[in-house]
């Protein structure tokens, strides 16, 4: 699953640690999500959507699409 974490984070001038703090996860988790190595749970995806004030499908895209 592709995601726009890195772009959205950069737009807000946040570091991975900043985003990790805001989503209440470790920096390793943010790094793994950005690199596409780890797909977050639905709970974390909703949390990210609330944080970025976007819809989930605007942040995450199925790679088959």
């Amino acid at each position: 699953m592709k995601n726009r974490f890195k772009v959205l984070r950069a737009e807000r001038d946040w570091t991975q640690a900043d985003l990790a703090e805001r989503l209440d996860v470790s920096r390793q988790t943010i790094n793994a999500i950005e690199k596409g190595k780890f797909d977050p749970s639905l709970t974390l995806a909703f949390k990210a959507a609330r944080l970025f004030e976007m819809r989930i499908e605007e942040i995450f895209q199925d790679e088959a699409e």
Partner: protein, 140 residues
């Protein structure tokens, strides 16, 4: 500071506290294990009641380790939980398979020595450490 930042600060603090609690319980359990193992030989001259009490204390500390480990796991975030649970699953599998094979070697007299539980514990410990290391590398 935002609510999420405060929450995150609490999470890191909670993980640290859970890790310290797990370390304390594990240390206490190891000490009680050593006491129950060597106490009858070197301290209380195989007194049965004291040995039973020492084993019970070891068991109680062991239950404490299990609860502390479960609480520690609950404080980790979802990726850390995934890495830890994968390592635990591999360790359980290796422990069961290797343990039974090792036991069979002993029962069938393929090996001349007795199968020791400590060998199995060592293999499980190494498996867990390697699996955790590989898991962290995979997602870094």
């Amino acid at each position: 500071m935002s609510n999420s930042e405060r929450c995150s600060g609490n999470r890191q603090k909670r993980v640290k506290e859970a890790t310290v609690r797990l370390g304390i319980w594990t240390f206490a359990w190891l000490i009680s294990l050593a006491l129950a193992t060597f106490g009858p030989l070197f301290i209380w001259d195989s007194h049965k009641l004291i040995t039973i009490i020492a084993i019970l204390i070891n068991l109680i500390f062991g239950i404490g380790v299990i609860i502390a480990n479960k609480n520690h796991l609950a404080e980790l975030d979802e990726l850390q939980q995934k890495i830890t649970l994968n390592a635990m699953a591999i360790t359980l599998g290796v422990g069961l398979i290797a343990g039974l094979s090792y036991s069979l070697l002993d029962v069938t007299n393929i090996v001349s020595f007795d199968a020791e539980i400590s060998h199995l514990v060592t293999i499980m410990g190494l498996t867990y450490a390697i699996s955790t290391f590989v898991g962290h590398r995979k997602y870094s």
